[in-house]
Symmetry: D2
Subunit: 338 residues, 4 copies
């Protein structure tokens, strides 16, 4: 790739997450939002006003094809990602897409191949990799400051359980929520060889209706011999709770964001601090930084990351975990094929 | 004031702090940077590229007078603030200015009067009031959660000592650095009646050359009976160190930002976390939020804060502290007049 | 049981752990160390000097039978516990014994029955139950402050790997180290129904020689539906690392002891605090409090806890985890019988 | 001094603090409590039972003179300390005494001289010097890890205000409470040259009746050029609040004990941890360690510390601070003479 002076963007999808991303894109220099598109015309108009885009459209394909558009940002519903990435690839436009590419391996593989053939830069929204805590953990691991990795632990608790409607198309707790921890496992420790997951419905029968679970634990055996555990839950009365530990022969990193606000309040023989409410506040910097990284890579002609191959491997891992839960047995990743 | 649809901005001063502010202004919706101005033409051009401004100027007065400009943001050297606020006031433009208005009481009073007569919205850059920690502390105090305030403590340590050239025009440690803690004292506890300060040159003889000091302690006696202490120092080998405590009959708040990054690193029988390096990272959110607040107040026709009267009172307090140090005796604020 | 005025003690075993316990016993009022015994006569004499005991013996049986002895404290090697508890039971003396009773179920069951028949008060040294953190967690759970328990997580890292000689008689990582977390799981959440463990030798081939592992992860499925994970490791370059989390529908407790010493040291853009080195400093209070509780229960005629039935159930659970690792499959606790 | 095999102790004063000290003394090996004495015979008997002493007396002089007594521990009311230290000195017995020796300089000087002439080992109960946090801070300072000291800050808040009766004989807030911070200032930074204190009655008019104050701030100027501040208050709704910071050119130590118990409780979008209630729990280790240090020094023939000269200098400093408050002006320590 070669360097560019500026980048024209088609921004697709103006839901709540879309607005967050759009605000971040609009604040980047040398990046110009050309077109915003959403099937809801009011949402599209709101996006136009927020970003100063030239056009607001309800037809996302048209936005992709706009001649001033170099890159497409996809924040539409999950089941449209694959088609839009494909359309962008055929139009020769770079892509930032929210994860996942798709919920099944065949379609994801097809997109990976398409993108690879056409040499299109595609970055997926595994934003935790850009959180300053996780990024620093990765640096330390790469620099050998932890020594050989021995143990990985990840806890993810959503604050609010999703609606049944969302659940039905989500792929379930492992593809929708644990997938972030599985991506971190690969990012921080390496590829996984075998998994075993147990789960249950502990607080909300809605999950049963969706053939899903609200609480799960998973064991991971990494190719390099390290071992790991995941805890995954779909609600939290104390805020968005994301904790990750990587322990090695020499050192350990604990990535946690204890205090949302830099204040302690003391009263009645104790002190209290406040937690993050949900992903938009906990990962505010990560959302900003992944977008900055995507566009600065495009501007400077560097490769983007994490790309479709990463998304594919993380999906394969999540599918193995889901299969393990469904079949109530340990599953090797090598079992998961197209 | 009435509501507006959008605001045109003249942005004055493109030093390092200026760029931070410009990035924040440029990312606001319904705010359009019309003109950027800096005596250094390259800096002005860089600002134009960053913000998409229409014009880059070296003549700041011309930028103020641009017909599409509704508001002026002033991030120029301290000794130009008063003149530029005055020019903006005469041109009928709203103003956000870095603090201080001026380093002496007479000129500051003159500007306060001008602004008041012309009913111009003017906000000064005491950004700590917009830090989520200090803002939350203020809420708790206002809500009575601390009870009657008894003790105030503020520590401010700059990371790097300023250059001699800067020191000579800075007004000294109390007007340049302690002034932030003095503003917090007024913001969180109330007006001060009497002060006493001691200081010394403990680590850098450069401060002696500037008839200044690098380390100081100050006692405050508030009108409401509360007592306070300040510690102020011009260097820190462990990062930007800002700590504030307000204790009352019922509760206490401690505003501190312990960890820059959400990661702990354990090794050799201990854990380590990293500190903020300096004001741009410690107060990143505060700089963003003060600007958001200024422009959303203008757009919605609400008053801006903190205004020139606050800046005047805080200056008076800082002058009292400096006088106390210079004359080596307690000084009542009422001694400080034009 | 009826109340007593004072208690005479036979103290058996004067290794390092023995000295810690002896110091705690010797400082209790209304408790008098009558006899100390260790196969090493120097150790016995040292114990006599420390405690003011009347006699120092190398014959532990003689110490138990001393007519002034009401209670026996057993801190001898693991393979002697069962025999000594039995001897004390036959002599009608109360017992505090380090865990475990024995490493196999048959012998443990036999002792449990003997003790039950003879109505002897016996307390086992699962000291974590007496740590102020775990005790407070238990209170909160009992009081319903966490709501229905959903997830349990326990990490235990020893600081220094044991010697091969010790390993050979230890019962392995699950019976020797993870057993503390398994006891906590039962104490805090309830009985376990099924387990699955994976392990490996990651840092020290000595464990292979002992047919043991140095690193393990385990999943737990509790009878009440809650799920859990354990991480267990035999060395730590950053100190004794014990962390436990219990999350419920309403609240969560995290039991961790971050700082050994109440001091933070700031330097080079970061702060550092020191960790506990090993169990004697991390659980100093717990060792003291379990002994206080044992003797005050005897003095006041109250039952002691945790008793042999608890030790038996925790052993059964640990045996299930070990079997799961050995046979590389999930194991139900109901499979583990005499 | 020469080494000893064991030490016989007369223990004087069995109030609440006395019981804490007695428990610590009684648990030391090679230390035997011979006599306990308290004007209240029940208290004396309770002390005898706790410690296994040979005699319980109401006549403290008799206890000192007991031929088996080598050392005297004085935990009686403040106004008896000087007389009892003197009696012990004349009897040739070593002394551990709660601070202060006396509340006036003349009497303290007289005792210092007596003790010096008779070469009696005397240690005063400035227990904070033995707290693991303060001891570690001292080590780091001595080792040069902070570089040249620049700033000292100490906050001390009692939990519960004392009774009026106690206040009347206490010497006031500076001699009774701030004195601990003044001793730390000397211990950690060095001698003080000048002080200035302001105070007020902010929450309890009882202090006015005792011609005392409940809240104070103080500035310190050290001989070595460093500066300091104290905050001192007589009540706290959030527990015993003791914080100390020493900052130098290279590093900084913060001594604080944030959590009483190793548990965090998360609920309602925040976490809470509990504070120490008062000095007995916050300084539990310090009380134990100062006593261990006193007796092990006697047993090994080493000097004890802090001795009467330290107590005298700390008293002189506290008197200077009180005078500064009373006369509402800065006071040099050199003004304070017999």
């Amino acid at each position: 790739m070669k360097e560019k002076d500026s980048i024209g963007v088609a921004f697709l999808g103006l839901g709540r997450m879309g607005e967050t991303h759009l605000r971040n894109v609009a604040s980047l220099s040398r990046v110009k939002v050309i077109a915003v598109a959403d099937s809801n015309p009011q949402a599209a108009e709101r996006g136009k006003a927020m970003s100063g885009a030239e056009v607001a459209l309800t037809d996302v394909e048209k936005a992709i094809e706009h001649p001033a558009v170099d890159a497409v940002v996809i924040v539409t519903p999950t089941d449209t990602h694959a088609g839009l990435i494909e359309a962008a690839a055929h139009a020769g436009k770079a892509v930032f897409s929210e994860k996942p590419i798709a919920l099944d391996l065949a379609e994801t593989t097809r997109i990976v191949n398409t993108v690879r053939e056409r040499k299109i830069p595609v970055q997926l929204g595994f934003m935790r990799r850009y959180d300053p805590g996780y990024a620093r953990a990765k640096e330390k691991i790469v620099d050998g400051e932890l020594g050989r990795i021995e143990l990985f632990r990840a806890l993810s608790r959503d604050t609010y359980p999703p609606k049944l409607e969302f659940l039905l198309g989500s792929g379930g707790i492992f593809l929708d929520l644990a997938v972030h921890d599985l991506d971190l496992a690969r990012f921080l420790v390496g590829e996984v060889e075998e998994v075993h997951a147990w789960g249950g419905v502990l607080f909300d029968e809605k999950f049963s209706k969706a053939h899903d679970i609200d609480t799960a634990v998973t064991m991971l055996r990494f190719v390099n011999g390290a071992l790991g555990v995941l805890e995954t839950a779909r609600h939290s009365n104390w805020g968005y709770d994301i904790r990750t530990e990587v322990a090695g022969a020499v050192g350990k990193v604990v990535v946690e964001a204890p205090q949302k606000t830099p204040i302690l309040f003391a009263k009645d023989f104790g002190s209290r601090f406040d937690h993050f409410e949900n992903f938009p506040d906990r990962f505010e910097a990560a959302y900003r930084l992944e977008m900055e990284s995507f566009f600065s890579a495009l501007l400077e002609g560097r490769p983007v990351s994490p790309g479709p191959e990463d998304a594919l491997e993380t999906l394969r891992l999540a599918l193995a975990v889901r299969k393990s839960w469904q079949e109530n047995r340990p599953v090797r990743i090598s079992e998961i094929g197209v």
